[in-house]
Homo-oligomer: 337 residues x 3
């Protein structure tokens, strides 16, 4: 339930409007002028609220719901109490996203360029950008149209952002070329030197890090996540990839399209990930690995070798999921003797 | 031993004063005007220092001590050398806290509202607050009395802080309601969007994150820790809970009272923790788990299932502590054949 | 290949110059006036580029190279195609570092003291320092010569930095004494309170943290890494130690010289590490451990006990590397029956 401290809430939305926005079918047309106050979960929705039911596992919660209306599927509607007004659609999750966007708009959206922002004379700022207090933008940087740069962000010389990007406050960006529609969260660190050095006579000498960080379109990079730039080659994040908070991505890593990298994952240098790879929370990859498209690595697992496309693996070192479960069962059984 | 670069040190504290502050018994009253220069460890305390001895495991160190005075218990005093002046109390750890607070005050405590802070006109700032350079406070935010907001902090529109809170420099707070006496460390990220999206025709679409982050009273949140706000429900941190550095807490997590979450723990979304749960460093919890009150999870463990109140578990996936130790012993023994 | 957006590239470097800078032997003196455009990898180097070949494992890549010139060793030159001009030296990795430093200089190097930096009147700033926008430097802080303090850095009262240090933007430094030639990356948090408290009547009471953080010379500390100051003793990082991103180092830890601490490592309080200890990514150490010099702990491992100097260990809890591999093989073999 959105809090009006933080969101502008569209009042008096009718079920007819809700049906239209979500492309859903209102099963009882006599109810089309009934109004809903808020979107809520099945558990907490009250007599003025609408909720969404899309996972059969939650049928117990559905049967207990006290909402005014529920958007669900033809198959699941049997579990919804009779007094709840039902709207039917094919994918209630998509409907949920659409109705949210219709009913709620975040407050506090920053506009304009703050007088305290320090923008280098040679930097190019696109139309309709917002730049927050104390943001620093270096020489020859290029910021596309409609970007929001929040307070205290530092963008280094020569960096380039596409259109419609949002950079969360206190983030750092250097040596980076970033596409359109990217969302970099607060405190993320992009493009700093990779961790590379050479031991010479007992001293670690830094190996120059001369590559860049290339981020595709429609990428999200979570809060306090760190992505080092390349050493000679570039570090690359493919289109549509989603990276959670506190992730470490090292120099020269190349991530494909649509990958999902959950919180606290660490990827050592020079790894290549295909498309739609999913790495669960706290996964670690050793350096120079090839991880095929569609690979799924369970949380806390660690990979020391390449993984073939489509594999589902678990453990540290990771093995096929079924093997891991067999190992766990074997250990539990035999250690108790 | 406190360094006068960083602390104001109360000079010439007598043993009579030390005894009074700590509610300890000075065993040799003829020494009540003797003065101590500093609090130190048993190992490093010199002839002008006082130290504390509370753990029998350290009796070897106690026997070697060169301090002027030592605060310990009736039971442990037998290990203290005869030439050291002994003060007795029931709990020397509490005495240690009290004497520290009496003798040392940190320098550099910020006061007043810096001219460069950017405070929205509609924000309400309580009495006696300190707000540092370049801090940004959004519209309709409410800051209680006696709060210290350090430099470069960004607090978003509508956020609310109770009294006596301290927000470390470069931290980010959004969509959050925070209680009294909370200490948020440098670089912490509170209230950003959770990691939620829906795959539609090969593209990840963001699921709107409309909940809040609710933090109780007397909570500490460590440096660079990230806590996402809720999706529809709220993310909740209970009273008195302590969270270390670099922890990830995902959307809709609900932590009870007095929990201890050690560094680099990752808690996936929609978990519920009871009271006084202890998660060791680098622990990972899968999403939607119920972790009962008093549960202790050993460092680096991972939980994939609910854990009953009071259980002590270890391993990834975690099992009861004794089972884990048996598994370790079994593997060590049998793999060597 | 360096991008001229980010680097000033020395044009028209001759092979004679490259040989001189790297102390290499140009094998065909008739080519000494040939020019190189860029340094590149063996795989991507084109007809104007120079590359480096130092690892026999990459001999397939060497045989395919299309570079104008290659710096390699006497032993490896046999794998380089005949039409590539060869320069010989003992250690091509060192040559690589030297030629990089000769050909490329980063752009955007900040100079001077920004008008918006807030430097306390009693702070001492050495010669030739650069201090970025919105940086805050507290009373009695001392900054050595030739330091670069990037924007939005906060340095607390009484802190001391040696000469030639670089502090990345948005970093926080408190209660710290830092040596010469140190590089602290963006968003690092140094010297905050350790995670220590005492449970009294169901409430966690903070234990005062009165120590300091002492950092030696020639230390690197990665992005968003957190190092707590000591409780009574100091936290100490030895000369030449390299710490990657997102590492947690707790109060009273003492790291020796030349250690390598890879990303996302967590070291609990009061550990002592000898010299040249290597901790792989995501390693965890329990508190109060002694880790001998030269110890190597494989990624994702966890240590619960002291480790003798020179040991190579793996697993959680960790065991000697060979034992770990035997355990893995045993489990794989026997669980499949």
């Amino acid at each position: 339930m959105a809090d009006s401290r933080f969101y502008n809430i569209k009042a008096n939305v009718t079920l007819a409007q809700a049906a239209e926005v979500t492309s859903a079918l209102l099963t009882d047309l006599s109810k089309q002028n009934e109004k809903i106050a808020n979107i809520s979960t099945m558990t907490s929705a009250g007599a003025e609220d609408i909720c969404f039911f899309y996972d059969r596992k939650n049928k117990d919660k559905a049967e207990q719901m006290k909402a005014k209306a529920c958007i669900t599927t033809e198959v699941l509607k049997q579990f919804v109490p009779e007094n709840v007004i039902v709207l039917l659609c094919e994918d209630p999750k998509i409907a949920f996203i659409k109705l949210n966007e219709f009913m709620y708009a975040p407050k506090g959206v920053q506009t304009g360029i703050d007088a305290t922002a320090k923008i280098a004379a040679s930097a190019k700022i696109g139309e309709n950008c917002s730049i927050g207090a104390n943001a620093v933008i270096g020489e020859n940087a290029e910021i596309g149209a409609n970007c929001v740069i929040e307070p205290n962000v530092v963008i280094g010389e020569g960096c380039k952002l596409g259109n419609n990007c949002r950079i969360g406050n206190n983030a750092s960006i250097a040596y980076s070329i970033i596409g359109n529609n990217c969302y970099i969260y607060t405190g993320a660190r992009l493009g700093q030197d990779g961790f590379g050095f050479q031991l010479i006579n007992g001293q670690h000498h830094r190996i120059p890090q001369l590559g860049r960080l290339i981020v595709g379109n429609d990428v999200e990079i979570g809060a306090n996540t760190c992505i080092d730039r390349g050493a000679l080659d570039d570090t690359v994040i493919g289109d549509g990839t989603r990276i959670d908070n506190l992730v470490q991505i090292a120099h020269n890593d190349k991530l494909g399209r649509g990958c999902v990298i959950v919180s606290q994952v660490g990827i050592a240098g020079s790894c290549t990930l295909g498309d739609y790879v999913v790495l669960g929370g706290q996964v670690g990859l050793a350096d120079h690995l090839n991880i095929g498209s569609g690979v799924q690595v369970a949380a806390q697992s660690g990979a020391m070798r390449d993984i073939e496309a489509g594999a589902v693996v678990m453990g540290s070192p990771c093995v096929p999921f079924k093997d891991f479960m067999r190992q766990v069962a074997f250990l539990q059984k035999n250690s108790k003797k």
